[in-house]
Amino acid sequence: MAMRQTPLTCSGHTRPVVDLAFSGITPYTNVTLVSSLLLLSDGKPMLRQGDTGDWIGTFLGHKGAVWGATLNTDATKAATAAADFTAKVWDAVSGDEVLTLAHKHIVKTVNFTQDSNCLLTGGNDKLLRIYDLSCPEAAPQEIAGHSSAIKKALWCNDDKQILSAAEDKTIRLWDRSSMEEVKMLTFDTSVSSMEYMADGEILAITYGKTIAFYNALSLDLIKTVEAPAPINSASLHPEKDFFVAGGDDFKLYKFDYTTKEELESYKGHFGPVHCVRFSPDGELYASGSEDGTLRLWQTAVGKTYGLWKCVLPEDLGAENSEQLYTSPTEIKA
């Protein structure tokens, strides 16, 4: 019996979802392991449960649009970057604001080191900043070099290096101790997204209609894949067998990573897809769109996981004590 994907729409946002991030898998009630999902909309970062999409809480405090957000590995801390010229650190368990880090311009990106002790920020003042969270009053270390606004900055290579992407169409690799530029990649067009996948082994970069995969350590190009439409974000499955991408034509595409073949495409969003990410266990991927919705999609369609229930043919149509229903049809493009 063929099964059609039923995406779960997470309601409650009125503005575009511009970014989302999963935490690592955390122990939870000693049995279930879940990740947390942080997403930005209405300028208010919201935390949701990674396997069901259920809302946990909203981080309130920023006075402007929030452009970037991240969770630390065990989902106990969150950091946000906003147009109010600040980056904030939050307690992701209580929802309380822990720290406000003043900047000289709009902050676009934030990233924790693996031990959650340092925070990397970047934004429109073209500087990368490293804050020591154990003494936040101390002046941050600053790295200059980009010639225009920084869009994304990530720790890499065991937090020994920093990778940054800017509007100057370059991606630069920096050494953390010397603060010097180690390598630079140039592109013809602005990079729309940059993320580490598969436990930091692979770097995925999107620009135009291209999804490019690089070796994370050497920054050597592994392969590029062309999509039918301009792509804003892509995510590789933890087992590296396939990846998903979404962009301006509102659709989500699923590609085979090895053969580069397009496997599926899903319609469902009513606006451009801004971000798409696999959950750390690879069981689902989340997409955020201009239409203000966050949708969760199953990796293995029909499998029982989270809110999805595998229903055997004999159960369909029979009297069932459990409340089962199928959501309105989503068209498979």
Binding site: L8, G95, W308, Q323, T326, S327, T329
Partner: protein, 128 residues
């Protein structure tokens, strides 16, 4: 025929009245760092564990002796919703869920025998 995958329910949306992070939620309880150090780690320091356990025993014994000495004494209960009542203490049940009292003075009269739900009690005082 292609059948859409069944779903138990839609994901829960934000509560318009609160910012969330419910302290009673399983997530909060699982991730919140407990105030007692040895509750958090599984491979706790044996000496620390022993010290804490000893402290627990002392506190428990103190509490039980307190309850014992309250028998037949006049006790003033300070409860939720600004309720203050006086009664003669009888006994507590084993789980300290209910207190059996006599001659409970209430605004509408004296109750000969009553059970007070300990959850409703904020504090109580008595003279030794």
């Amino acid at each position: 025929m292609v059948t859409p995958v069944s779903v138990l329910r839609m994901p829960k949306g934000p509560d318009p009245n609160s910012r969330g992070f419910d302290p009673k939620s399983p997530r909060f309880i699982a991730l919140c760092r407990p105030s007692i150090p040895t509750s958090a780690v599984s491979d706790a320091d044996a000496e620390q564990l022993q010290k804490e356990q000893h402290a627990r025993s002392v506190l428990r014994e103190r509490f039980l002796r307190c309850v014992l000495s309250m028998t037949n004494k006049n006790v003033r209960f300070h409860m939720h919703e600004r309720v203050k009542v006086e009664a003669t203490f009888g006994a507590s049940d084993i789980d300290v869920l209910n207190f059996q009292v006599s001659d409970l003075h209430t605004p509408i009269g004296v109750q000969k025998e009553a059970l007070i739900r300990s959850q409703d009690v904020i504090s109580f005082t008595f003279d030794i």
